[in-house]
Amino acid sequence: MSFLQLQAIEKSFEQSAPVLQNIHLQIEEGEFFVLVGPSGSGKSTLLKLIAGLETCDQGQIILNNEAIEKQSPRERNLSMVFQNYALYPHLTVAQNILFGLKRKGIDAKEQQIRLNHSVDLLGLTPYLTRKPKALSGGQRQRVALARAIVSQAPLCLMDEPLSNLDAKLRAQMRLEIKQLQKSLGLTTIYVTHDQTEAMTMGDRIMVLHNGEIQQVGTPLSLYNEPANLFVAQFIGSPSINTADAILNGHTLTIEQRYTMELAPEIAQNLPQQTPFIIGVRPETLTFGDTFDLEVTAQEQLGHETQVKLQFAEKNWTVALQGQHPFKKGDRIQLAANALLFFDAHTKQRMKA
């Protein structure tokens, strides 16, 4: 039996399209599970359903072999870190961290022990008597984490906890949260719209789009074997290049102007003379002679050069290792080595 199970969860708000449909999910103890999707995909709503801050229309939520979907948030015994931290502005850091323990009637000595442990862990000791207003963004974030940790709840929910931090601090907190989670063995559900966060932090990732599960898997399985075009485009940065293609024998014709030969063992798994969609990751394109493309822009990152290209009516990107001084209007010859194939109608990936 899994630690947390969601069964056939449905949710819609008044007079609008369903926010969540047919959500089935199992999360194991100690797992760092990431819910990722664009804004409006229903990921925050799903987190609120688990927390008990929203009620589901249908379905079951089972935590530790107990159905909890009808329980109030306080009965569920979980902790949560909010996007804007949601610290209690009228209370000091120490009072913020202890608020829940006081409400639960935890013994005063035990409160002090847990407080000291959490502030040690997060480096908050000098700030205990400060109000949240007098803290920086990163410090507030740590208070929110400390508040979640002291509860010693076995499940921690995080709703885009890093989105209000600047890029450098975000990268640092990403690592800290991950280390904290592993050292405490805390089962964590982490919501984000940022695929980099999802890839770097998640043991497993669930991609949500329009309230439906697109795919659940490890970061690399999502990257290497996306279930459909949406996942392929959502995971990976820069985003995957796509084009229309048609297969004739072993010859693949792309956007009616470029041709390349496919290996027989790949071609035999694909439909003949039926249009489909190919996907090419920018970092898998290499110099070659399949495509002859015009450079429209370029971004030098130092270790890598990202070149924007005109590809028929589409825009493609190639990520080349090292520094390449291309200019707008230059022509560049490339070959694709690893292709992904998608059905033109269902957008599902075709295994080849």
Binding site: R74, A86, L87, H90, F99
Partner: protein
């Protein structure tokens, strides 16, 4: 100073205090409930609640007489319960003050509670707080500025109530004759020094109250 100065002033403050406390309690509860609740007819209901703010006090007084008068259901219920009608009593003055002061409190608390970040209340719920604990430990402290300034405004408004009190509670010295009524009577009888004394007292109290509101909001 004479009793004809102190009695109405004391009465005004007493009535305004009791009315203010009742208005605060009801205003906090209703303001909280209305702040995050959506239902059909909410707009209509709120407009009715705010109506005493703009109605002539004589209209309020008239309606109070109709609602609590001898032949009304509420009037009969009160006679049955307390063995005496409420009209022309100290409590009638309190009721009149409550009705005219309530809109100020309601508006202020509702705005205050609307401004409380729902995530903070939710954080408290997840943290293990019961609903009443969320209300007392989070919502009320976070809306405290609005609650206190609403309370002071209501108190000040109750203190100055004239029209509805006159119609519904009468003008009985020592019982329902509040400072505003006493001022009117003093001028009517040519007792200008008493009128001056009461007028200046009222101005000082009201000024200090409004000053507090501004200090709290600043």
């Amino acid at each position: 100073m004479s009793t004809e100065f102190w009695t109405p002033l004391k009465l005004s403050v007493q009535i305004a205090c009791i009315a203010g406390i009742i208005v605060m309690i009801v205003g906090i509860l209703l303001g909280k409930w209305m702040a995050k609740k959506q239902f059909r007819g909410k707009l209509f209901f709120e407009t009715v609640l705010l109506l005493p703010l703009v109605l002539p006090p004589t209209v309020v007084g008239f309606l109070l007489i109709i609602i609590f008068g001898k032949n009304s259901f509420a009037g009969e219920a009160i006679v049955w319960l307390f063995n005496a009608p409420v009209m022309f009593t100290w409590w009638a003055a309190v009721i009149a003050s409550i009705v005219v002061a309530f809109p100020l409190m309601y508006q202020s608390t509702k705005t205050g509670f609307e401004g409380v970040d729902e995530d903070i209340e939710n954080a408290a719920r997840v943290d293990g707080a019961k609903e009443w604990q969320v209300f007392f430990f989070i919502s009320i402290p976070l809306a405290s500025k609005a609650i206190i300034s609403g309370g002071i405004l209501s108190f000040t408004r109750a203190l100055g109530e004239f029209g509805a009190t006159l119609m519904f509670a009468g003008n009985i010295p020592g019982k329902t004759q509040t400072a505003p009524l006493a001022i009117y009577m003093a001028i009517d009888s040519g007792n200008m020094s008493l009128a001056w004394a009461l007028v200046i007292s009222m101005i000082i109290i009201s000024f200090l109250m409004l000053l507090c509101v501004h200090l709290i909001r600043a």
